[in-house]
Symmetry: C2
Subunit: 152 residues, 2 copies
DNA sequence: AAAAATTTGTTGCATAAGTAACGATAGACT
DNA sequence: AGTCTATCGTTACTTATGCAACAAATTTTT
């Protein structure tokens, strides 16, 4: 399987930043996904929704979308599933009845705290596997990309 | 919208490495996806397949899977579409007739070189927007994660 | 050499995701 | 008040994805 060197202007996929970031993100995410999948049969949108509500305590679907960058249909469906599971409750806003305020039930909080703990351990493992210098480089470059992507 | 500080063990989503990597990857990829989408109506699996064949010149579906980390059904369908578009041709291996060798047609090569060029410019823009020091940090940390994920 | 197991690539089916349209509500404009 | 526009969240429809089963070819085992 020879490299095609007809044209030296070529950019191998494995050197392409979009591809490399995707690979890294996907592999890391999947490794964590195993946790919430095996523990609660959750999907990624469900975990992110749970995490966002858990983090803010009281929040609306729209705010979850903004904070987690998920599509509103994803969030809507995740909320539905979490509600079925009795992990959250909705309260209609009395000043604007289009809006629903979401809060975790005790069960929901329990699951959130448990998974949050797993997430922190997972992250600690990654950082210590990387070592302090690589971890610092990762932090620096992620911040730089975040600023690039989302300039305040 | 107050932070929920009942429990200090909580890990905010925006500090979670899996989430941050995904955001970065998704945003960067989508910005590049605009290019191949608007130019040729291509999908991401199609672009990756085109890029992989273009890079190796002559390759099989299985090898594309291995090199690009895409699921074999994704690759199979991308090959089908690229073939319809007359961007690649298949040749059955004479020693093992399960295997098909894939090569780009002239049209396929043209599209590949064009998009490869766009990709390089895109990448150059990102690196220069990041600046040399952040770009170096990104390179370092991506390599570190790649080693972690895929230890040879 | 026949049977069993493996490999390559495709396809049927079920699930996930996004677009666009929607109902319900609220706000702005005349 | 009445109309027009915008917003919040849901849903119908279409497309994308992945698993599992598959056919065809090859390799291994007996």
């Amino acid at each position: 399987m020879d490299q095609n060197n007809i044209n030296e202007a070529v950019l191998p996929l494995e050197n392409f930043i979009a591809y490399r970031l995707n690979q890294a993100a996907e592999k890391v995410s999947q490794r964590f996904a195993i946790e919430y999948k095996k523990r609660h049969g959750m999907t990624r949108p469900e975990w992110r929704t749970l995490a966002t509500i858990g983090q803010f305590g009281n929040i609306t679907a729209k705010q979850i979308c903004q904070h987690s960058s998920m599509h509103k249909t994803k969030v809507s469906r995740a909320i539905f599933t979490l509600e079925q599971r009795r992990w959250l409750k909705r309260t209609v806003d009395q000043n604007d009845r289009r809006v629903e305020h979401l809060e975790l039930t005790l069960q929901g909080q329990k699951a959130y705290l448990e998974l949050s703990d797993v997430a922190r351990n997972f992250q600690d493992q990654i950082y210590s596997a990387l070592g302090p210098s690589n971890a610092a480089a990762l932090e620096t470059s992620l911040e730089a990309i975040e600023t690039l992507i989302d300039p305040q």
